[in-house]
Symmetry: C3
Subunit: 268 residues, 3 copies
């Protein structure tokens, strides 16, 4: 079975390797897939986003382990969350907020069975001593409910939601990628029926959705339906972040017209 | 079967993980090997070089997937190129130029069978929606010709070739590695019969080929037969790029004498 | 069988991929696990530390390959070191110093059987041409003694040891991690029986061991038992390296009192 890893361990310390060894010591046949170890240190918000975006494509039965865990060794709990298709192991710090939001059916357990942990458990490296071995046991077929006790008081986090009301859409920039694309939380479908619209991001206004990055001239900004199904503000072969001076959390607003009138002109 | 990945996705976004999930959803037993996800964004030239250098060592039957694809979602095609031993999946943008150059036997297909793609195909992430699933099917044994239609109008790119003529060799710097070694396109064998030679790179002249990096004093420049079989300009435990001020595409010239006379002196 | 890789190849060159291909060409079912390819170029000391810290958690039978090898192609030997549980392949440059220190039972061989190497062996890339194929053969069950000749003259390196004498402990900072934690070589157990102590690191003095990073206020320095069993100087959600101005090799001293008197005060 497949185990994915999403951590802030970085790639130059022994931590990711030690955790893989701990998994393989329990199940030498586990298929370990790195999602990333380059979450910025302690950045729970970023880890939540990356995990949710990457986990969705994995086959049924996959175990997703997320270790961005500034509270390691304190009394914060470790959760196993079983959705219809996957099992998630993570500290109880909100890093699973998109999982909980998208999977109301999730059954959640707080880990408390040391027989599935490493023989000695440190207070500073639960990736190696708790998450890794527990994931190894899950990949051997252990049902998640064997790892702990049902738990309902977990941190659900806050998922920022876009608003659509009387021809106005309001959302925000929820992520940037390495290309400098600004990913918003506005579903691309919200503009689909529109006769016309004007969407503002920084000083730029967009009045159409491009089909692909390459549909704009190199260096030109564009609006596109991104890979997560939400609107994305991009610059063909360039960085929208740098070019438009966007930042995480920036508000994105659109005026939408469903008649034939031109929303963009009405805005001006 | 083995599937290798060469992309410009970087290591901190969800993209590489999502693509692996899409592969494993088709073939949960696929053996995925990262060549690199750290190609500079949109750098097709660099991807072509890294892919060719790494792919050669893989066993027969390996599927090599390259996604450096600024044209994603435009009408650029996606290619499957079957050489004697391997299958390559890549956008039709020249990233396979060394593969085509080295494998005139390659059969090339343009992908057009959506039954081997993801159920919904976005216009912004073909790595997840087309390349990944198609690679998964190849790793299950699907013959490459099932993925598409024979296609001959693909981008062959330009492979810069070294010249040897009347005792003069001209080549160029085609790559740097992380150590700062300058990799040229001049076959190391071209200097092998020489009685004497002088090779100039920047302000430096070399009159012998060292056997290994460690044969020069620490900090001293040297010329060596690199791991790709071409001449490499290096500095022992240092960076030839920085020390000699070399840049990509810099011309490298050598005067070669096959008699006993000293080419280096003749140059001076 | 599992093969781990610890190298200074970086992640943007073809080298790590080419080495994996060379392994898989010998054993297509080898399970390759990256410990890291981001050891700083030529940094044998750092590689020794990371390897030792990560290797310990892997199951019996694992083959650990370390290629940080500025002497590649010179007459430096390549070693296979078989401990009770693992086999280590590495250049003879001290990178196995912690392995030798912790495993006096290790049997060591110098590789000299070209039938287990790649058909053509370059002088500049033994990772691909020697280490990779040899590791592939080990993962197929080849006993390490078949790879070479018993060898006793290998580089043992120097392992810096902490000192405990008459209530004084002296150690040093042996590593930093990406969080900026300063890892010392002082066993955490050395402070366990103490009635009181004062440990100095830079301008800071610690008189207690915290249970976890989160037990200090955000931004506050703390002393903790790290994941390797030694004392670690940390800053909760911050960098001890930056905040305390620590450097590799910095001396760490502690005065320990086993009676009821307060060591910290005695120092002041």
């Amino acid at each position: 079975l497949i185990i994915t890893l999403t951590t802030d361990f970085g790639s130059s310390d022994p931590y990711a390797g030690a955790m893989k060894g701990a998994i393989l010591s329990v199940n030498p046949r586990a298929q370990i897939v790195d999602i990333t170890h380059d979450i910025p240190a302690h950045d729970v918000e970023r880890a939540a986003f990356v995990l949710a975006a990457a986990a969705a494509t994995f086959p049924s039965g996959t175990v997703h382990v997320t270790v961005v865990d500034p509270g390691v060794g304190t009394d914060r709990r470790i959760l196993a969350a079983a959705t219809r298709e996957h099992v998630f192991l993570a500290p109880d710090n909100g890093v699973l907020k998109y999982v909980f939001d998208g999977h109301p059916e999730a059954r959640v357990y707080a880990l408390d069975r040391p027989e599935y942990f490493r023989e000695t458990v440190s207070r500073t490296f639960h990736g190696r001593d708790v998450f890794g071995p527990a994931a190894g046991h899950l990949s051997l077929g252990l049902p998640p409910e064997k790892l702990g006790t049902p738990f309902d008081g977990f941190e659900r986090g806050t998922v920022s939601r876009p608003i659509r009301k009387q021809g106005r859409i309001t959302g925000e920039v929820v992520s940037f990628d390495r290309y400098g694309n600004a990913i918003t939380n506005i579903p691309a479908g919200w503009l689909e029926g529109a006769a016309a619209f004007s969407l503002r991001a920084g000083a730029e206004a967009f009045e159409s959705v491009s089909r692909s990055y390459g549909d704009a001239a190199p260096g030109a900004p564009l609006l596109v339906a991104g890979s997560l199904g939400t609107l994305e503000i991009s610059v063909n072969r360039g960085s929208a972040r740098d070019r438009l001076g966007l930042r995480l959390g920036d508000r994105i607003e659109a005026a939408v017209s469903t008649s034939g009138s031109h929303a963009g002109r009405r805005e001006a």
